[in-house]
Amino acid sequence: MAILQLDKVKKTYGAGHKKVEALKEIDFTAERGDFIAIIGPSGSGKSTFLTIIGGLLTPTSGEVIINNQTMTAMNEKNRSKLRLNEIGFILQASNLVPFLTVADQLRLLDKVKNNNMTKEQLEGLYKDLEIADLRAKYPADLSGGQRQRVAIAKALYSNPSIILADEPTASLDTNLAFEVTDILKRETKSKNTTTIVVTHDMRLINYFDKVYQMEDGVLAEYKEEVLGNE
């Protein structure tokens, strides 16, 4: 059974002549261990797609099923519980809590979630991400790449089954972008989670198992030639 399944998911913003069909009847599945990229031009619906999977946005019609639970049929309370337990978000690098040390960023999650990593797992994660020496530092004292690795640690810490990353490398230079993508891939494989990354950066697509292209609200498997012909 797929960990994530979207059935005819449609999203329409606004009404009347301002109506925008951001997603047009999308069918999509992902399995455990999948490392997936979504590419596509700005305004094509990538963020809408990701936020619907993340349960922050409800689709106009269609179903989202995560781990055998139909999220679209849930009330808001159960949906945010599901979000809390099954989904990890990785956002822009600057979005760490400025007044918490690296260790405290994770400790904050202890206050609100209860299926977090054990101490040993956390030590392993710190090592994998090479941030063990940074735990007493504040975000302002970290480099962009270090911050993004802390953000990854935050997303992985609560053992989510799905990790969603919206342009996680947008604020990084090329080398760091490669490095961060590589780390994400390693964590996906070693923890057998599912990771979906939205990215502009075509140089990264070789890292992924599957690449999809979003265009005008339609999701299709990406084929090299499509871009090549343009």
């Binding site: 922050l56 918490l100 405290d104 904050l108 206050k111 997303a155």
Partner: protein, 355 residues
């Protein structure tokens, strides 16, 4: 609490400043409340000392003791549990070195208005008085001979009693004969049955029966009608309420600015599954901490200031009143956090995610 406390620790300067501002406002609130209590006591201390439930005055005096005039016969027409007659007039006392406004109370020695003597003796002979001990601070002593303005009388202080100020002036307690002689001079004979009112202790004020044109006034009503008493209280209380509201506005603005700065951070935390409730509680916890710490330090500072003030400043700190104001202060400050809480609840985590 975790988030609230960590933020305060990291941004010490910011939170120390706002706590300092709240401390100063709390200090002002406490100080004004001390002033209000002090001024109240200046007016009512001697009345509280009666430990009475009602006073009987003539209707035409409109609740003013000094303007009420009745006879001992009127007293006999009053039916109540325990009564004590009272004559009163105001004058200036002079012991050759010092002058002071005083209020003379003419009383019967065997009735309950007779004060406990804290220093010296009771009056036993004519022209002897027990004085309010405020006069001690003003340079009067046992054995002093006093002349009173507008009279020929010479009175001798034989003792002092505490808590004896009426309408701002220390009281001289004396027997009725002396009172009549001092107040009426040569006309004392004709006026030997004149008194101002009758003070009453009873369980049931409504059951008191009085002769015609004489009314029963509850002690609280009597105090509220002391000249200037209610106006003074209203003024000071209004200042206190304004200060509390101002502190809430300061808190509201401060927290709101901080919250607006942290909007995107709150959005991210919400997207990560941290509830609005947790984030709102964090802001409320911060408000509680800054206002509580401010109030406690302000409280200490007020007591410290009170200890060093010259006795001429009429401050008197009533712990219960101050604690109530302290609580109101904290509660109102927390209400000031409501705007920030509303802002946090309204933040859409989508905006934090949006590419």
């Amino acid at each position: 609490m975790f988030l609230a406390w960590k933020e305060m620790k990291k941004n010490k300067l910011r939170f120390t400043l706002i706590t300092g501002v709240l401390m100063l406002v709390a200090f002002l609130v406490f100080f004004l409340s001390g002033l209000a209590t002090g001024l109240q006591q200046l007016n009512r201390e001697a009345v509280d000392k009666w430990d009475a439930d009602a006073i009987v005055l003539t209707e035409e005096s409109d609740k003013s003791l000094g303007l009420s005039s009745m006879t001992v016969q009127d007293h006999e027409g009053i039916d109540a549990d325990e009564t004590a007659i009272l004559g009163q007039f105001s004058a200036i006392a002079n012991n050759d070195d010092e002058k002071a406004n005083i209020s003379v109370f003419g009383i019967n020695e065997d009735e309950f208005l007779m004060p406990e003597v804290t220093d010296g003796e009771k009056f036993t002979k004519e022209n002897e008085v027990i004085a309010g001990d405020k006069l001690k601070e003003d340079g009067f002593a046992i054995g002093d001979t006093l002349s009173l303005s507008g009279t020929e009388a010479e009175l001798t202080i034989v003792g002092f009693t505490d808590n004896a100020r009426f309408h701002g002036s220390p009281v001289l307690y004396t027997d009725l004969d002396t009172f009549h002689r001092v107040k009426f001079g040569e006309l004392a004979e004709q006026n030997s049955d004149r008194i101002n009112g009758v003070v009453i202790r009873t369980d049931n004020v409504d059951a008191i029966e009085t002769p015609e044109e004489i009314e029963v006034i509850g002690i609280d009503t009597f105090i509220e009608n002391l000249p200037g008493y209610t106006e003074q209280n209203l003024t000071l209380n209004l200042m206190i309420y304004f200060l509390i509201v101002i502190s809430a506005i300061i808190v509201a603005i401060f927290l709101y600015v901080l919250t607006v700065q942290k909007m995107s951070m709150f959005g991210v935390l919400k997207a990560q599954g941290i509830s609005s409730r947790y984030l709102a509680n964090s802001v409320i916890a911060q408000t509680f901490l800054i206002s509580f710490i401010g109030v406690v330090i302000g409280f200490g500072l007020t007591l410290l200031t009170g200890a060093f003030l010259p006795s001429a400043v009429p401050v008197s700190f009533d712990m219960v009143t101050m604690i109530i104001y302290g609580l109101i202060f904290v509660v109102v400050a927390i209400m000031g956090a409501v705007f920030s809480v509303r802002t946090i609840v309204k933040i859409d985590p989508l905006q934090a995610i949006g590419g």
